[in-house]
Amino acid sequence: MDTQQQLDDFQRRIDNGEKIEPKDWMPERYKKQLIRIMSQHAHSEIVGMLPEGNWITRVPSLKRKLVLLAKVQDEAGHGLYLYSGTETLGVKRQKLIEDYLYGNAKYSSIFNYPTLTYADICVIGWLVDGAAIVNQTMLAKSSYGPYARANLRICKEESFHKKQGYEMLAKMAEGTSEQKRMAQDAVNRWWWPTLMMFGPHDTDSPNSAELIKWGVKTKTNDELRQHYVDRMVMEAEAIGIELPDPDLTYNEETGHWDFGDIPWDEFWSVVKGDGPMNRERMNARREAYEGGEWVREAAAAYARKKRLKEEKAS
C-alpha cells in the first residue's frame, strides 16, 4: 500500500515539474492510469491505419500514394513508440494487445467512422491529425518521462500529416464543383466526431482531475477542444470551407469561438461499440493478429536455429 509520505513526496516532485522515470516510485493508481491511457493511445495509432489504408490502392496520383504510404507507416511507428513507452511500466506488449483485441481496452472512437471518399483522407489529415496534435502537444509535457518523449517524437511527424491533408483539401476546395462538394461533404461528416476526440466535457470526465493533478495531462478536455475550434475556424475560412455548425460565433468577451452542442449520444454509442465501423475494425485487427501468429513463430524458430548453428560453429 502507498503511504501518505510517499504520496506527498510524489506530489511534490510533480508540482516541481520533475519527470517521473520508469524505476522511480509512483502510486499504484498513477501507474494504472498511465497503462490505461498510454495503451489506449497506442491502440488508436494502430487501428488508425485502417481508415487511411483503405485508400492506398486508389489514390489519384503516384505522389499522393507515396505520401499516404509514408503517413500510414508513421502511424504504425507512433503505435510502436507508445507500446514501447507503456512497456517501461512493467507490462508485456502482448498482454496490452490482447487486452485490446479480446478484452475491453479502448481506442479512439474517431476510427470507427468510414472513409467514404478520397476527400475523407484529406479531412483526416487536417481535422483528425489536427486534433491529435493539440492533444499530443499537451501530452509531450506529461509528467511520465517515456510518455512525454514518445509524444514529442510523434508531434514532430504529425505536423507533416496535418499539412499534407490541409493542402490536399485546399486544392479540392478550389476544384470543380463536384470536388468542392466532396470536400465539404467530408468536412460535414468529420467535424463533430473530431470535437468528440477530446473526450466528454470536464464536468462528465471522471478521470480528468486526477490526471491533471498528477501532471499526466496539463490541460482539460474542454480547454483543448476550445483551442482546436479556434484554430480550425481560422483554417477553414482560409480555404473556403464551412464548418457545419450554425452556432459558431466569435465571443468578444472570451476571445474564443463559441460552438453548438456536441451530439454526445452518438459519442457514447460509438464508445460502446455501435459506431458505423466498430465491428469491422476489431475484426480486421484480430484477423491481422491471428493471421500473423505463424509468422511470429516462424521468425522466432528461424532465429533459434541460426543461433544454434552459430554456437556449433564456434
Binding site: W25, E87, K306
Partner: protein
C-alpha cells in the same frame, strides 16, 4: 485460434540507441521487439530513423542493461557532492587574465 489467443509468441525486447550526427554521442530512442540482432537493427531503422534521425544505431537486449536505482540516488552520487575542487569555478584567477577570449 481465437479460443487461445495467449500463445506466447512475443519476441525479445531490445533497447535502441542512435547517433544523431557525426561526432555526437549516442542517445536512447526507445525499445522494440525482434527475434535477433539483425532484425532488431532493421526494425530500429524503420521505427526510429525514418527521417535520418540517426547515422548509426546500437541495439542491446533490454535484459542486458544494468541501471542505477533512483532510491539510491543520494548515496550513490554522494562522492561527487563534496568535491567542488573538481570544478574550475573553485579556483581564483587574477583579474587581468579573467576576461581572456
Amino acid at each position: 485460434m481465437t479460443d487461445n489467443p495467449s500463445n506466447n509468441t512475443e519476441w525479445p525486447l531490445w533497447e535502441v540507441f542512435y547517433q544523431p550526427k557525426d561526432g555526437k554521442p549516442f542517445e536512447h530512442a526507445g525499445s522494440l521487439h525482434a527475434t535477433d540482432a539483425e532484425m532488431a537493427l532493421q526494425n530500429a531503422r524503420d521505427t526510429y530513423a525514418r527521417r535520418n534521425e540517426g547515422i548509426a544505431i546500437w541495439v542491446v537486449p533490454s535484459d542486458q542493461i544494468v541501471a542505477s536505482s533512483p532510491e539510491d540516488r543520494g548515496p550513490f552520487f554522494d562522492p561527487a557532492n563534496d568535491k567542488p575542487y573538481r570544478h574550475p569555478q573553485f579556483y581564483s584567477v587574477p583579474r587581468a587574465v579573467k576576461k581572456r577570449k
